[in-house]
Symmetry: D2
Subunit: 353 residues, 4 copies
């Protein structure tokens, strides 16, 4: 069979705050190089480890039972506890990497996975644990974004995400303090319990659940975003869509009326537009909603073919998340943080005279 066409690689993200991630799921390590962090930022491995731990599997029954201990090491870019203006290299060694169970399916293209397209593109593929296409790569995004979040914190930007919906169950109230108290990361305690039950029921049947995750950024300055192509909403859409198993959700059709608040600041009464107008932040909260697909690796039998074109029925057993929403929360926060910090640095370059 004719092989497909591979493309020039695209493992960097951001223009000024630029991250480059590397590593395969079952390789020796994964890592990320952050180039473009201004000097003088207080930073430690603990700052990064916190978000990494939030992304980790094995946190509860509603996520995968694999035990990964992702310890980040900072190999460069810090001096005396501060960023020194040079690239910050972060590394996480791979530990839990039994590749033997991938041997039987190394010649089969799993539906909903990148097996087929990677093999067509590159001529062959690292089939162990999905190789580079594994969601494990998102650990690097989360690690790099922890630095972005600290930077954004210096100008008063805060970012938080939560699970808004699982199946048909939706959060009815938003209590930010509640988010990290329950395993689904839902800001509504009651809804959280129902979501958990729903996910466990699906898991028991070898099925999985999709949902909706929401990320909010507060304190974002007016004026971020670069018309006409690097609009803030366009860059957020790309960032979110670059996460495995994510589809961006649509915003509202309604206009937001302007008013002047008590302090004399121009505001909008509603925030249908999610904090952006014409692709530029307007000073309201940035709100991004993303639809999370049910995981592809479900235990039910699926039709597929081998690399030689032979028809097979495939059942994939293993330790997979029955619902990706809880772990998608820190990853989605990460992508929002990376876009915002990049646009903030870009905006510093271009203050009007």
């Amino acid at each position: 069979m004719k092989k497909g066409i591979p493309s020039v690689a695209g493992n960097s993200f951001g223009e000024l705050f630029r991250i480059t991630t590397w590593g395969e799921s079952h390789g020796r390590a994964i890592g990320v190089v952050v180039d473009g962090c201004p000097a003088g930022l207080d930073l430690s491995a603990e700052d990064i480890q916190h978000d990494l731990d939030r992304r980790r599997v094995g946190q509860s029954k509603v996520t995968s039972a694999r035990q990964e201990e992702d310890r980040v090491e900072i190999l460069s870019g810090l001096f005396q506890g501060k960023s020194v203006g040079t690239p910050i290299s972060l590394l996480i060694w791979n530990k839990d990497a039994d590749s033997s169970k991938y041997e039987p399916i190394k010649d089969i293209y799993r539906p909903g996975h990148a097996d087929f397209t990677y093999e067509m593109k590159y001529g062959f593929r690292d089939y162990r644990g999905g190789g580079r296409s594994s969601a494990r790569e998102t650990a690097c995004r989360v690690a790099a974004a922890a630095i972005a979040k600290k930077l954004l914190g210096t100008i008063g930007v805060q970012i938080y995400g939560f699970t808004r919906q699982v199946g048909s169950i939706e959060a009815q109230s938003i209590d930010i303090d509640e988010i990290e108290r329950n395993p689904v990361r839902c800001p509504d305690q009651e809804a959280a319990k129902q979501m958990e039950a729903l996910i466990l029921a699906a898991k028991a049947e070898g099925d999985s659940m999709g949902g909706v995750v929401e990320v909010v950024a507060t304190g974002v300055p007016v004026g971020l975003g670069e018309p006409v192509y690097d609009r803030l909403d366009a860059d957020l859409a790309k960032a979110i869509m670059s996460i495995n198993a994510i589809k961006v959700l649509s915003g509202s059709e309604h206009n937001d009326a302007f008013y002047t608040d008590a302090s004399g600041r121009i505001r909008t009464r509603t925030n249908h537009a999610g904090g952006m107008l014409g692709g530029i932040s307007n000073g309201e909260d940035i709100v991004v909603r993303l639809a999370v697909k049910p995981p592809s690796s479900i235990s039910k039998s699926q039709h597929s073919v081998t690399k030689d074109g032979m028809s097979v029925d495939l059942e994939v057993h293993g330790r997979h998340d029955p619902c990706l929403c809880p772990r998608a929360v820190p990853v989605a926060e990460a992508m929002v943080a990376l876009v915002l910090v990049d646009h903030w640095l870009r905006s510093r370059a271009m203050h009007h005279l």
Copy 2:
């Protein structure tokens, strides 16, 4: 009031097939420079004019009554009827530019428009016809994409778009030949009539309609897309979201089963994934659906403020499209073409050894 933060400009799109657009709605001209078109492509102004005419307003009652005659001029990059490998500069002179009606609202921020954010970002703004934030800029995308389409044609890729839905009326069948025969660009003759009636009814009430546009690319080679950040779906999302008034729609949650067709080619039985797996084209049709907002400039009264923070009620009259879908079709096709041609060139760089 404290001014917002402007950003470094973002008027280029594409990595290898790179377009740079320029021009304001009521300035002297608009234009685009295409850098990265391989030498040897047969090209004439007529090739470009065709798609420009499809985007033009004044085509029917369901679009704006303004008469723009957008004649494209090719100023460089061709020799003896072929691209010569140097930048192709396209220019369209602005003609219909009566700016007087914008004087009364030059200090008012229209809801749903970029007036406020542009002024915060840049310190002041060209308020005439929306300046750079006007949809007029999309003429340049369409012009550049006409070149992209011709290039893609040389490898057998065809792109077409249509209006799938207006309000709650949806096309029930897809007859490609029908698309350009009716003013809403709907591939279903019956639905087209109902859509047209719906739009005209809204227009009569000073209201406007949203809808859904779909773009399909056939013949796309397997292997386009660059993990992990420049995935084909991520780049398409950004491209589509960079169009004014567009929100990307979500895809399906279902996996596509593989099979081997009669010719021995590995295919998927369904195409829920829209022709991509893991962010890489899989050889099926690329399908992109986008939600089109009802235009912001509706004649109904809206609350707003002046630049001094004074409260005003605003009614915007003028020649605006009551439904953007028909004109969004060629623009959406353009953005899909620009992404695909760029990824095709990127893929040429990196054939595996």
Copy 3:
């Protein structure tokens, strides 16, 4: 004969202050789009025309006798006399374009010219006036750099260039006011006369002269330049080398001793390093020296081949500059200005915390 390999195009320069030039020598027009100029800069066509006139041929006996009247038009990016933060599009119509004299040599590769490599790279070439490889393209650099110079002026950076050497005659003193008073742009009146005589003597014999041009930038802030690859000296070297007929000259081997001046500022006693240390500006004058080759199109007979590989003797007559130095001065200034303004904008992005 096997055709060579063409490359992805490279007609843009700068990361944040990015220019994209287009146009062939005998095409309809040439032009440049400047993306990344901050809003609020006072700007008029006259600001740009001044430097364009300095670059123009036909200024004296020591430059070409061609009469080009390069009138720049600003097509976008200004509003009320100021940059508005959107792309600034500049256009110059081509007038003096009699291509007939290039017909006889359209199949011959001129030594020292890009005829052969362009044809190998692109499959064919626009042979009229050198097409894109003509030095006419530098008019666009000069036009764009006039904007860069105005921007740099707002932070106190001034840039001037002059002819330091022609043949073996070197300027013995530097009187800045003298530079534009003589046709060779030499800051030493006496040396200027000798240089002029030397050039005219060479011209009379159908020969041409090389020389040395120097560009100085004063008032450059400490800290411009981006280790380890985008060092200021590395970017200046690339910028200068991208001019036709230029070879960069080497700097000094000596270290500059530090001292503290009366105002408490840390300075270097000498400036062997040309204002840079470790690729970063140190606050002293930036000094760049470039060697200018004698023009390739000399009237003496040269050996060459046709595209079919036939041996020919070639004599190129025409209106060519007997010495490129005077006209190289504004072009070299332009490239230095473009590098400095880009690095200044980059530095604004990354103030340490």
Copy 4:
């Protein structure tokens, strides 16, 4: 004192074959991520180690006596002994890092070093061993370029470098096999002996020597280079100038006459232009000559100031190279290889139709 202006970071090189280096001289490790290596290249750590060993210090009396054992580890991007199309991450642990001797000079700006400009740019600096400004960073370039060389080898390009001149002693003949047999990497055995004596004499006096290094690339396809800004010669100039202590040397003023060789290929009789015309490779050998400065850290007393502006006399003792030429050879080869492989990949993207 007012702090200087830091810039957005620039630790990546190349457009399609893109390397990102990281690490400080006395930090935990240094490394490089290579993104853009096509899949299918046979590669092992030994391939990379070979060139790293050539760059290593402690190889002879004419280089530094420090003992560094730079063992490269490949952490990602390979599968079954081949590149798999994903980023290749290379890491070298730092071992010999006694920072104590830098304590006494941590507040002093060494002449000819980047101490002052780094501190102005970033607000503070890692003074241990020069931090990021150390030549140790070039190990990463050499490691990444070993991959570039293997890739170039698949299309028949070979790259070699040598010391052409030390002080006033110049190689009189070029015997490629001789280069690696003597400690100065001179291709002329007799000249090599004289050069070695000259360097050792300088070393005995606490002085150091400059020289000239030459790099030759054979088998380069016609057509590499991207007018008008990314000319091959301009990119080579930038690449070479980005090496510490290097100044590019000028080329020749003479044109190369064309002829057709016995095989019908169009050639030039001479190669004054170093294998490029109009910034595009012409199929002859690419030849780059670079002037290497005598090392800055000489034992003689130099005038300087502390960060508080106090005047000091500074003598720097330590294990420094008395002549950088031998170790500059593999680094210069590396930069030439990185430019050529990048332009080769760019050329693949843009074959004319």
